[in-house]
């Protein structure tokens, strides 16, 4: 890849094993245009990361749904157990299906056209950043992260007012 391409410029080929998971009828409405409360999903195999993200956003009034892998998350979405989130914090190094594959599946499904994907990873290489962009991720957060940094990035992407003033 020669540059950080904007989302939408590169075709994505989701894993054959997972294609069709989201063609099931249960996926709730696509969102992104609503003005109601925003929701976040975190997909990370670390329970500590999930707990930290859940609690941190609960403290600012944002509900978080949390899953240890992409399959569990996609199944929950397919069954309509959880609404389409406004933003997904997605770990790259996931079991069963890596974060790129999960992002590819989301990106190829119309229900998620307004869902913002932010990658989480402990590998902070250029290749990871480029691959994240290619699969449509809007941002990239390296582990270990400062929780306040994650909250700030999410606030910016969701255009939520910062506690200290208007949103950037």
């Amino acid at each position: 890849m020669s540059s950080l391409m904007p989302p939408g410029d590169q075709p994505v080929a989701p894993s054959a094993a997972t294609t069709g998971l989201l063609s099931m009828p249960g996926v709730p409405r696509a969102n992104g245009q609503h003005s109601g409360p925003r929701s976040i999903m975190v997909i990370d195999d670390s329970l500590a990361v999930r707990k930290v993200i859940e609690a941190s956003f609960a403290r600012i009034g944002l509900p978080v749904s949390a899953y240890p892998d992409g399959i569990a998350a996609i199944q929950a979405l397919s069954r309509g157990e959880v609404e389409v989130p406004d933003l997904v914090l997605l770990d790259i190094e996931l079991p069963k299906m890596d974060g790129y594959q999960v992002a590819g599946i989301l990106r190829n499904n119309d229900a998620f056209r307004n869902t913002i994907v932010i990658m989480l990873t402990s590998h902070d290489g250029m290749v990871d950043r480029v691959r994240s962009r290619i699969v449509g991720a809007r941002d990239f957060i390296s582990k270990p992260f400062r929780v306040s940094h994650v909250v700030s990035i999410v606030r910016t992407h969701l255009r939520l007012p910062s506690p200290d003033g208007p949103s950037r």
């Binding site: 670390s46 329970l47 930290v52 899953y67 240890p68 992260f145 929780v147």
Partner: protein, 417 residues
């Protein structure tokens, strides 16, 4: 969250006095959370139906310091001295315990003052006519509250008496004890301007920044007595209520001593990433010891942000309380809130050299034994810090997060949340 919410509703439909009655009859244990739309929050803890603690999260909430001064048990100077001691040892004894150590209060007086604080707070919360309530069964205070039980009948009687009293006071003091009053510029012409000495003492302390509570504290009189004096002065047109003071949050001193600046979550994430790089049991053991030091370092930084200094024996105090000063024959070397990780690593190497000659089983046992003690030590440090977090929901979230990290330490699957 692990604390199930048993029931919830609105105070417009079910008042606190009725909830208190229900708690007593049901012999409930747990925490009743009250919220108003303006952000005011109240928290009442029950054990077996008895009230054991009531707090309001408001910068003008009733504190132990207010109660001690209003009951004439301690002076402002004595409280300041105890507070200064606490700023040098924020995880050490609490204000009341320090006053006992200083010989200012007896244990009994401290217990009575704490119970009074709870009872007076509960009766004030019972005046709320709007907002929500939520009961969390089995949610408890992090400290032992067994000596602070107040029988539900006594609480009910006090709440009903207080409600009755405030029926006449509310129109003139609409923000209760948080009402600020000022002197009128134009006193009523027909007023004789003759005052009882007690009323004069109140008037002399009135200014736009003083609440009823603050005036009572300065006068060293119970606040309800002072409200009874101020009420008629407002009715006669000599004093004017100028709104309420206080915003959601902790009173100033409590906020300084709380661990609001301690970024536990960022610490946990960095520990997990560090742990995942450690591949051998020996590296993992020394990493655990290092995590205790990192925690203490973060705690020191959080204290500094609040203008506090951490007592140099805080870590050794925590380890001593938990009986974790060593493992088998080894004693941790602790100084200035740090474990000597090099000394510990050397000890591990020597011990393992010896056990390697014996068996693989002995080596495994060594790791498990030392790992368990270090985990308990780290958890004890977290517990000590978490006990100073004001909100039970945040304490519970913190605990869930560090327990999740400990699953990573043990290599257990993370499952679904």
């Amino acid at each position: 969250m692990s604390n199930a919410s048993v029931f919830s509703g609105r105070l417009e439909e079910f008042r606190l006095v009725e909830l208190l009655q229900m708690m007593g009859l049901g012999a409930n244990t747990g925490a009743l959370h009250l919220h108003q739309d303006n952000g005011r929050t109240g928290l009442i803890f029950f054990e077996g139906g008895a009230l054991v603690s009531a707090n309001e999260l408001d910068t003008e909430a009733l504190t132990l310091g207010h109660v001690l001064q209003q009951l004439g048990l301690a002076t402002g100077e004595q409280l300041n001295h105890a507070f200064q001691l606490q700023t040098q040892d924020p995880l050490g004894k609490r204000i009341g315990e320090r006053l006992v150590d200083l010989g200012i209060l007896s244990d009994d007086q401290l217990t009575q003052a704490l119970k009074t604080q709870s009872l007076w707070t509960a009766r004030e919360l019972a005046l709320w006519r709007e907002g929500t309530y939520e009961f969390h069964a089995e949610e408890r205070q992090p400290t032992d509250t067994s000596a602070l039980r107040i029988d539900s009948t006594r609480v009910l009687m006090e709440v009903l008496r207080y409600e009755h009293e405030w029926e006449s006071l509310y129109p003139v003091l609409p923000q209760g004890m948080r009402t600020r009053v000022t002197m009128t510029v134009e006193p009523p012409g027909e007023h004789p301007l003759l005052f009882h000495a007690a009323a004069w003492r109140v008037i002399a302390r009135v200014n736009a920044h003083q609440t009823v509570r603050r005036i009572a504290t300065a006068l060293r009189l119970p606040e309800v007595d002072v409200a009874r004096m101020i009420g008629p002065l407002v009715q006669e047109g000599l004093l004017v209520p100028v709104g309420g003071a206080g915003v959601p949050g902790l009173p100033e001193e409590a906020a300084r001593l709380s661990m609001g600046n301690f970024d536990l979550f960022t610490l946990l994430i960095s520990m997990e990433q560090e742990w995942l790089k450690k591949k051998t049991p020996a590296d993992q053991l020394t990493a655990l010891a290092g995590f205790i030091n990192t925690t203490m370092q973060s705690l020191e930084q959080a204290c500094q942000l609040n203008g506090l200094s951490l007592a140099p024996d805080t870590l050794s105090g925590i380890l001593q309380r938990e009986g974790l000063l060593g493992v088998d024959n080894y004693r941790f070397r602790v100084g200035q809130n740090r474990l000597d990780v090099d000394d510990f690593a050397t000890h591990c190497r020597r011990a393992l050299d010896g056990s390697a000659r014996n068996s693989i089983g002995a080596t495994k046992q060594f790791y498990e034994r030392y790992g368990e003690v270090l985990e308990r030590a780290l958890a004890a440090a977290f517990q000590a810090i978490n006990a100073r977090v004001a909100l039970p929901i945040e304490r519970s979230q913190n605990q869930e997060a560090w327990e999740a990290l400990f699953l990573t330490f043990r290599g257990e699957p993370s499952g679904t949340t």
